[in-house]
Symmetry: C2
Subunit: 313 residues, 2 copies
């Protein structure tokens, strides 16, 4: 491991998270706009954010993953097709020089998913590479990984290689339904209000999530489409609170995600969750309900460890 | 049938459609804001829209269905619990006088759905009552009805009575994903652009819908959540056009709706579609793919016929 400082950045669609690092230590962290919100070239958006660090430390190497490598990002970095050995992610990084400093952008991955469609990821491959670096035992045997988020990724890892993966729209769909649908407007507009105060005490938020998981388990052949309206009707008719309904929606969607993924990935006994700790816990709860064990890894730590593998190479 | 003129109104969340009628003839139609967009009491919003008609014809009776009877509407009209005989819908209408004219608001329906949750409708019950009035044979035996729309309703009709129904969020979810998701932003932002011009000729809009139905049929135990990302990746990787992707999304969702509903309603050989003709045709295509026959009724004609049953009583 090099002992010079460097900058590690996870540049997603909606957020940039930059860390000034020395070895495995993070010295300072800054946030910036995501690739989706940029109105100027990525290199120009980045410059003011790291100018101070460069004044102090000189031309710091810059290691990036995520949408920075997309067509709308800084420089398009081709997808690495699966199967892909993530212990050698750095070999496929796009390397160039900018403002006199070396830049490395991690490639995304592409595959043909188990549902027969093409699938892609940008950013998660670096988290997986980091998980492999932090936990080398993940490189031995078969593992089912789940990276929950806006686009949850279910990933099949065999001997350190990603054989294929599948994207679930869980987080994005949850946010769309929470913020813009009639499912949650009922309570907001007060139409479910008259009885909800009295009854919401019986259904707290945690029970809402558990009830959502139960509803997902009862779906059978029915589609999620047929279960969603209950988020509204249970406020309207059962007097459930807005908070309960949001937790129910979350449980319904995470439950449907986990229950739909299990048969596709021929249900192993354990899944490895890589993500934000609160979200990991919700998925772990859904997995336990299906008789699975879940171990949780911190997504940010994995991203940093993955970015370090670009530096080493 | 009374031979005096009257006003029939379908007042939904997003739209008011008022018709000045004489018997079964519509003399004139006007549009207004939906209940969801009102900033003033419903009665006041209505007055200027019908003032001209009243100057000409006197205090016209007003027959309303939809969200006019909701808590946020004009006057709350309690839900009629299922099983409910819709040939007697008028008996459960809320009747009062306003500005010297009689007003009738159709009640909505409530039930416990086959998925075990409460379910509700407002407006569709009047379309079903109209379908029964226009086609009395629907009142004999068992029929599976489907009213496609923002909230698609699957309705079990036995001897003229609605025993239960189930709401699918198909239309609302399609609109949310079309207008606000990353699924369709790829092409809009031009990120899928470089190859899409060349290849979109091979995948026209109609094939997109058919491909979506195919993808829904291949879902198996997987959830719709796992199939949605293909709408984006097939633009990004397969170079599909934005138009193709929207048709694919539509096929995927309508296919999932139909395939999920069939086992719940113990697949009869035929379904009766009540709705807009273009949407009816898409559902009919999905139903035919499942070996079902579909007959189509015009939703607006059914609504008017249903409102007339309020007048008669």
């Amino acid at each position: 491991m090099n002992r010079e400082p460097y900058i590690a950045g996870d540049w997603g669609t909606s957020r940039l998270r930059l860390s000034l690092c020395l070895g495995e230590c993070v010295i300072e962290t800054r946030q910036g706009a995501g690739i989706g919100a940029l109105r100027e070239p990525a290199a120009e958006a980045l410059r003011p954010l790291i100018a101070g660090w460069r004044q102090t430390h000189g031309s710091l190497p810059l290691l990036l993953c995520g949408m920075a490598g997309s067509r709308n990002g800084w420089r398009e970095t081709p997808y690495l097709p699966c199967p892909a050995d993530l212990r050698a992610l750095g070999e496929a990084a796009l390397r160039f020089e900018a403002d006199g400093a070396p830049v490395a952008i991690a490639p995304g991955l592409s595959c043909k998913s188990r549902l027969g469609s093409p699938d892609v990821m940008r950013g998660e491959e670096t988290q997986i590479a980091g998980a492999l670096a932090l936990h080398p035992s993940l490189g031995i045997g078969h593992h089912l990984l789940c990276l929950p988020g806006t686009h949850t990724k279910w990933v099949c890892l065999e001997e350190g290689r990603v054989t294929d993966f599948l994207t679930a729209l869980t987080g994005e769909l949850f946010a769309l339904l929470r913020d813009g649908s009639t499912l949650t407007q009922a309570a907001r507009a007060g139409t479910g209000g008259e009885s909800s105060d009295a009854r919401s005490a019986t259904g707290d938020t945690e029970n809402g999530f558990e009830s959502g998981l139960e509803a997902a388990a009862a779906l059978g052949a029915a589609s999620l489409l047929h279960a969603l309206f209950a988020v509204r009707s249970r406020q309207l008719i059962d007097g459930r609170s807005h908070e309960w309904a949001l937790a129910y929606l979350s449980g319904l969607m995470i439950g449907a995600d986990v229950r739909g993924a299990m048969p596709l990935f021929a249900a192993r006994a354990e899944a490895v969750l890589i993500g934000d700790s609160a979200l990991n816990e919700l998925y772990a709860q859904a997995l336990r309900r299906e008789g699975m064990t879940a171990s949780c890894l911190d997504g940010e730590q994995c991203a940093l460890a993955g970015l370090r593998t670009l530096w080493r190479t």
